[in-house]
């Protein structure tokens, strides 16, 4: 669970002292139990780990992580004998964001190290250094780590180049991959039909709106818009009205118009996915056979045109041209400017817990808006049918074992055992319920009974996490291509979009054509044939 979300839930529900004591008492009881009793059935372990340290009992610490790691060792013990990896040393590269990620992994893996006899060395990276460090390791052939925490968009760079080790079957069984939410199943995490990824996280963009703008007396209309057509209409109609909360000018949907190191492109994708992601094909950014960009087809042009229309109508706050996604979420939406936004999960949690947020009581959630019509790229024509396609922006973190372990069976088994421990079914439940930097990503994470029993407010958890679950399991989810250099494409698109939004191109079509031309150049530079092969593999074609 993201830290903010944890704080939000704590703030959103009134945790009384009795509940906290109940949790602590249960924990005490667990501590006194003999170890064999702990391994007594899954349900028991799941219920018990959720009580460490107990909802509302402060943030978990290293000793809690170690306890959870210890209690979740059951699956490992089934496959590995005690002391089996004596003398094995592994290097793990991951993040140190917010003192989470690697910090948790250390705690989780400590009991694993004690049991198996292996030793793990750590490489901690800040988020900003991550991409450069990874790319340089790959480009210069200096992969100095055996296990890596990595986002799925980089799979093209790593799996596509054969740098990772294929997942053995016993790992698949140990981590129960069937339990993953739909979009994390194949082809995500696989390459050429082989499986590589132990998922530990899920990501998607969801829709956040201001409840006080909508309803019987709402200035935005009676109903919350559910399509991009409605959103644009509402945004235009709101021009000149007054925000009910702040008394400043009212605004509708907030598009970030400035780049964000490539990440800003996800936000045009939110609009475009509804138009461009036809259920008949997983491809919506490139044509799989030729790598010809689809970004200048009528669907994408419509998405760009939507933004240009709102610029033209003066529907955005002033200086929106200089607003990146961070600005739209944290300086605008949460601070009471604008009424609709697409973002990752943490905007919802920050709504209540952030000091600068004023919209905590009036924020509602939904999935990525739909479109009244969808472009069928194969037929080359619009179809007048409603289309929904949630944008799984970034696809979440996973643990991968590198090919450096190949040739040493003991080391390989050790590395996979460590990865499987981190991505274990029970351990991941704990990680999704407490601050860890990760979101729920298994169907079993959405068993709200478990959350309620652990002390969470059921209505809230169901409402908020429900919108995530709906996006994850959507049959027409828009998954980004896991090809090498995907962020290069996004970054150059941001530059061209900035020119288009500033009026330097004649039309949305011209802007889109410029992006397509730049993308073609990148494809040629990286190598068209290899990109086509990798793209098709990433789509599972």
């Amino acid at each position: 669970m993201k830290v903010e979300l944890y704080n939000y839930i704590k703030a959103a529900q009134k945790m009384n002292r009795r509940q906290v004591l109940k949790g602590s008492a249960a924990l005490g009881a667990v501590a006194m139990m003999p170890k064999t009793a702990l391994a007594d059935g899954h349900a028991n372990v799941r219920a018990e780990i959720l009580k460490i340290p107990g909802v509302g009992a402060g943030s978990p610490t290293d000793s809690d992580w170690q306890k959870v790691g210890e209690m979740c060792l059951g699956a490992t013990k089934g496959n590995v004998a005690e002391g089996e990896f004596e003398g094995v040393e592994l290097t793990f590269m991951g993040l140190n964001n917010q003192n989470l990620h690697n910090f948790l992994f250390r705690g989780f893996l400590k009991p694993w190290e004690a049991y198996t006899g292996a030793k793990i060395n750590w490489i901690d990276l800040a988020q900003a250094d991550y991409n450069a460090r990874l790319q340089q390791s790959i480009a210069t052939g200096t992969v100095d780590f055996d296990i890596i925490e990595m986002g799925a968009p980089f799979e093209g760079d790593v799996l596509g180049k054969g740098l990772a080790s294929e997942m053995p079957d016993w790992v698949k069984e140990q981590i129960d991959m069937d339990d993953y939410v739909d979009y994390l199943k194949e082809p995500v995490g696989t390459w050429d039909g082989k499986t590589y990824r132990v998922s530990i996280d899920g990501d998607c963009h969801s829709f956040a709106y201001r409840k006080d703008y909508f309803g019987a007396d709402g200035i935005g209309g009676a109903e919350v818009p559910t399509t991009w057509q409605e959103i644009n209409q509402v945004s235009k109609d709101l021009v000149g009205k007054e925000d009910p909360l702040t008394g400043l000018p009212a605004h509708g949907y907030l598009d970030p118009l400035k780049g964000w190191g490539g990440f800003g492109f996800y936000f045009l994708e939110n609009r475009a996915s509804a138009y461009a992601k036809h259920p008949n094909s997983p491809a919506w950014l490139f044509e799989p056979e030729t790598m010809k960009p689809m970004v200048n087809n009528p669907a994408w042009v419509q998405a760009i045109q939507d933004v240009m229309d709102l610029i033209e109508a003066g529907a955005y706050p002033t200086d929106q041209i200089n607003a990146d996604p961070g600005t739209t979420a944290f300086q605008q939406f949460l601070a009471g400017t604008g009424s609709m936004l697409m973002w990752w999960g943490d905007v919802g949690s920050s709504a209540r817990t952030s000091d600068t947020s004023v919209v905590g009581d009036v924020v509602g959630f939904g999935i990525n808006p739909a479109s009244d019509r969808v472009y069928n790229a194969q037929a080359g024509a619009w179809e007048e049918t409603r289309n929904e396609a949630p944008n799984m922006a970034y696809i979440g973190w996973g643990v991968y074992v590198m090919a450096t372990v190949e040739g040493d069976e003991k080391k390989k088994k050790a590395a996979w055992s460590a990865a499987a421990h981190l991505g274990g079914k029970d351990l991941s439940l704990w990680a999704s319920a407490y601050p860890s930097g990760f979101q729920p990503y298994r169907n079993s994470h959405f068993q709200y009974d478990e959350w309620e029993e652990a002390g969470y407010d059921r209505a809230y958890v169901e409402d908020y996490l429900g919108s995530n679950a709906d996006s994850y399991n959507h049959p027409n989810a828009a998954i980004e291509p896991r090809i090498p250099g995907i962020f290069q494409y996004y970054s150059v698109a941001e530059d061209e979009l900035a020119k288009g939004y500033a009026g330097q191109y004649g039309s949305a079509q011209e802007t889109a054509d410029a992006i397509a031309a730049a993308w073609e150049k990148i494809t040629d530079q990286i190598g068209r044939d290899s990109q086509i092969a990798v793209y098709k593999a990433s789509l599972g074609m």
Partner: protein, 367 residues
């Protein structure tokens, strides 16, 4: 024993046998040959001309270090006492060559390749493709054009800095306090300035400056149009670096000969006249130095832009460095990015050389 020539700084006259000389020369040439052979072999291996080679270039580096060591040792072996004198400088010179010349040559090579970090093939020489692409790259030329605006802004900064220096040089109350206060912006990192001012004070909705403008009945917008955005970037950069020019000019003012200024006053010159006819001409060398250094700083402008506007709106505030940053970091486009940087380096060298040539006649204090 060599007793001919300049013996002024010679402590001992060495007796160096021909054999010893030969050993020294063999050492230098032998190791040089080894280094060159290894380098050629490794290059051939990398180009698939020979079947066997080293995994990395490290052995070549070791051979180079061996040659450098042999070269240093040979100075003493061949030249004796005189060689020891060379030895004081030679290691440092070799060090500089290793860390400046080699990387420069390597960068030059990279800039003529299509190296994209995501490419599975690594760097492949692509002739003049990068140059052609640069020629057709609107973003680069746009950034160069912006640099002209940014450099021109130095003239305004100079006027303001000169004014402040004159004020702080005058007999005013709390002069020392003001000197420190006016220097404060220079002590701040431009990154901090871009967040504190660009992203906080100037934040359209709750930034204090925006609020003030709204209170006064205006509608704040600092980065909405190309012109205002460029102006705001210039202003933030100027705010940081005007104190730098000011402090240089202030030092110049304080070093002016008092008697000349007093003499002009005795001759009945007004304040403006003594400034125009005496102070300003005397200050020309300092002024030119300050301006040239400031221009060199300005050519590197990137941090404020990257943080506040990312080059927007539509590239209006992009500097060459901020554009290369995006090309290099966000797009891993190492080959092309390096070429842009090399071209920019050449442009800067030409520009600064011309500039120095042009202003050289003002650099000397008038007699």
């Amino acid at each position: 024993m060599n007793t001919e020539g300049d013996l002024l700084h010679t402590v001992t006259a060495d007796n160096i046998s021909d054999n010893r000389r030969r050993v020294g020369k063999v050492m230098v040439w032998g190791t040089a040959l080894l280094c060159a052979a290894l380098a050629l072999w490794q290059m051939a291996y990398e180009m698939d001309r020979v079947a066997r080679g080293f995994e990395t270039w490290r052995p070549v580096l070791y051979a180079y270090m061996l040659w450098a060591t042999a070269l240093c040792a040979a100075q003493v072996i061949v030249n004796g006492e005189k060689g020891k004198r060379t030895l004081f400088v030679l290691p440092a010179a070799l060090f500089v060559i290793s860390l400046v010349v080699f990387p420069l040559l390597f960068a030059l090579y990279i800039s003529f390749t299509d190296w994209n970090l995501a490419s599975p093939n690594g760097p492949q020489p692509n002739g003049t493709d990068n140059l052609v692409e640069m020629w057709n790259d609107g973003f680069y030329w746009n950034a160069l054009k912006n640099m002209v605006y940014y450099v021109l802004a130095v003239s305004v900064e100079y006027v303001i800095a000169f004014g402040l220096a004159l004020l702080l040089n005058a007999q005013i109350r709390a002069r020392k306090f003001f000197r420190v206060v006016f220097l404060l912006p220079l002590m701040l990192s431009p990154v901090a300035v871009s967040w504190m001012i660009g992203k906080s004070m100037l934040e359209v909705r709750f930034g204090p400056i925006s609020r003030m403008i709204r209170e006064l009945g205006g509608e704040p917008s600092f980065f909405g149009t190309p012109e205002t955005a460029r102006f705001m970037i210039m202003a933030m950069d100027a705010w940081t670096f005007i104190p730098f020019m000011m402090i240089m000019l202030l030092a110049g003012l304080q070093a002016l000969p008092r008697e000349v200024i007093e003499a002009s006053k005795v001759d009945g010159a007004t304040g403006w006249q003594s400034f125009k006819e005496v102070i300003f001409p005397l200050m020309l060398p300092v002024s030119v130095t300050a301006i040239v250094i400031r221009i060199i700083f300005k050519l590197k402008l990137a941090d404020v832009i990257i943080n506040v506007t990312s080059g927007g709106p539509g590239g209006a505030t992009d500097s060459v460095t901020s554009f290369i940053f995006r090309e290099y970091r966000d797009r891993s486009n190492v080959g092309y990015g390096t070429l842009l940087a090399m071209v920019y380096l050449v442009l800067i060298v030409i520009f600064v050389t011309l500039l120095l040539k042009l202003v050289s006649r003002w650099m000397e204090r008038p007699a």
